[in-house]
Symmetry: D3
Subunit: 138 residues, 6 copies
């Protein structure tokens, strides 16, 4: 049974800033540069969700992409889109919303929801067209 | 003398929200939807600056692109990149930072700075890959 | 009052073939090449809808993009997406679904629906990333 | 000897539908949604062919890309481009042309043709810019 | 009869440098920066050829795109692709190969070849994804 | 501690040709085709640098992207951008500048410079949007 990876790309727009609350403005600016701007900045994020698994003999699907899109939208993107990642998202509380931390938090939330035998294989999170992160759960 | 249009694409990332201060939260949410989120959201903006004019016989240039890039960076993008468009930009004070209003404000600021015989011909401002505005000064 | 152009990009996937019913297979193949394949072929189309008009002083909008998206989806794309352009679309009956004919038919259907003072300004219809058409109603 | 992966991107346009002949229309529509439209729909597919192997000391090539392009065109794409994947392709007979099944069939056909020491390493097949599959032969 | 614009995107890769032979190295470096490197540099160029005209009632075409592609390839791109724009192209002799000069020279060569009633409407020449020029023959 | 991969995309433009000095023109043309043009040709290259490692608990970073960009620019791209890869680059001397050889040379130069615990994980070098290579140091 061939093991195929399928990917759905989705997107959201959000505000954030990078700063540690226990550091003063000067130190945050020194470490995080413009990303520490206290009045926030923001991005259009692209999220590429890759699910792997055997191809179902009846449908030819690893997983129905409409189900995957619905799952990511209702459990992840409805919380992130047009929101402030530092302030508005309960499951990011206390997390510095760097792209690295964000992709790990999305993984932990999404991986248990993929119906077996399919499995979450990889997440790619693009903060700009010139900068992205990947995570595979390890 | 042929009249050629040259374009340089640049980019910035910023936070904003759409809301009128004299309206209450409910009315802002009704008119502007998720864009009214009081904790802001943000975008990666692409700005395409088109300058038109005769081709210089010596250099083969309408305008030196390094000069154009420097001009847009120092007079426009340094004020917008990694900033909050509602709060941090003196020349946007009192303006609802819709893409339409933003492109007009950039035009008014940039057009007088292009050295003749070149002239600012068109601005394209992309808020997402699926939504953009154009303005030609009229 | 500045006149700004706003564009929303949408997409649909459809099957079609290029052939005149009164011509035989050989003539259709001669004129239209592989596009005449009697068992159809298909494309992912991108449609870029540009609306122009004055910027509303209260909202900063030329037109609410959510309204524009809803209009194009319900009146145009619901009829075209995952359909056969030669067979399934009443308002394309008798039309050879070349990209040129398709963009004109979409214009005629969409232009009267844009609420003044906004107006439909331009349509770009991309059949592949290497081939597209534009129409402005003239 | 370094082992490098080289990739060539190619494209084709085709019609298809997703449906099991032994199911009635209602069940096909329930399982496959709009993809079951009996009059077909279609896509612009992008195929990215990745070949891996040692770099030849004389040419600096893993494999001549012109040879790879010729091979994929004559053995794969000439059969798929401007065709109906359910009807026109002998080596897809009896296969539901989901993206998953299609990538596996292309792999089985293409892998034995890559001249050693190069080897087919990965195929990426994009059905839309928002949805793609990957297969590595396992 | 609607007047539609159709565009075909093509591409070529070439070497060039920007320098005036009557200027010394220092002056060329001062005016043209890194583009004056005496050992050349190069680009992947994208050329978008827009032809406008009435839609033929029989074919639904402004112009057969295969004919347009063939024309641009044989009369323009075969001379430019994998060539040195300063040295290898008879019809660029004595021209500083800035993007502006290049687009004008392509226009002058291509415009008379478009079969009426179609006409060459616009050329867009992209030197990088961040820099392009447009010319409409005036 | 999650192990995340971060990628920064950068770009440069360069001239090159593919040819072995000990072969005559005819043999070089036979093996390398148009790429052997003695007057050079050129490309816009995209370089995607992937660094992997644990996420720092204080900053949320695998590695500061500004540092990575600075490193790649000063140690790699300043030598390649607007240069001739066959002539101008000391660390490519004697190397046929195929994309495969180029990515390996960049790896060997860049890998020792990544500050632990981060490590260079993958390089993707795109010569055109239709052709790229990957290397992971093995």
């Amino acid at each position: 049974m061939p093991d195929v990876r399928i990917t759905r790309r989705l997107h959201f727009s959000a505000a954030h800033r990078l700063a540690r609350p226990e550091w003063d403005e000067e130190k945050n600016r020194h470490v995080f540069g413009d990303c520490a701007n206290p009045n926030w900045h923001g991005h259009n994020y692209d999220l590429e969700v890759t699910v792997a698994g055997p191809v179902d003999a009846e449908t030819g699907y690893v997983m129905d992409l409409k189900d995957l899109k619905e799952l990511v939208n209702t459990r992840i993107l409805d919380d992130l889109d047009h929101r402030n990642l530092n302030v508005d998202v309960p499951w990011l509380e206390g997390v510095i919303p760097s792209t690295e931390n964000l992709v790990v938090c999305i993984w932990e939330r999404l991986a248990p929801l993929i119906p077996p035998p399919a499995r979450l294989e990889k997440l790619v999170l693009r903060e700009t067209p010139r900068h992205w992160v990947e995570y595979s759960g390890e």
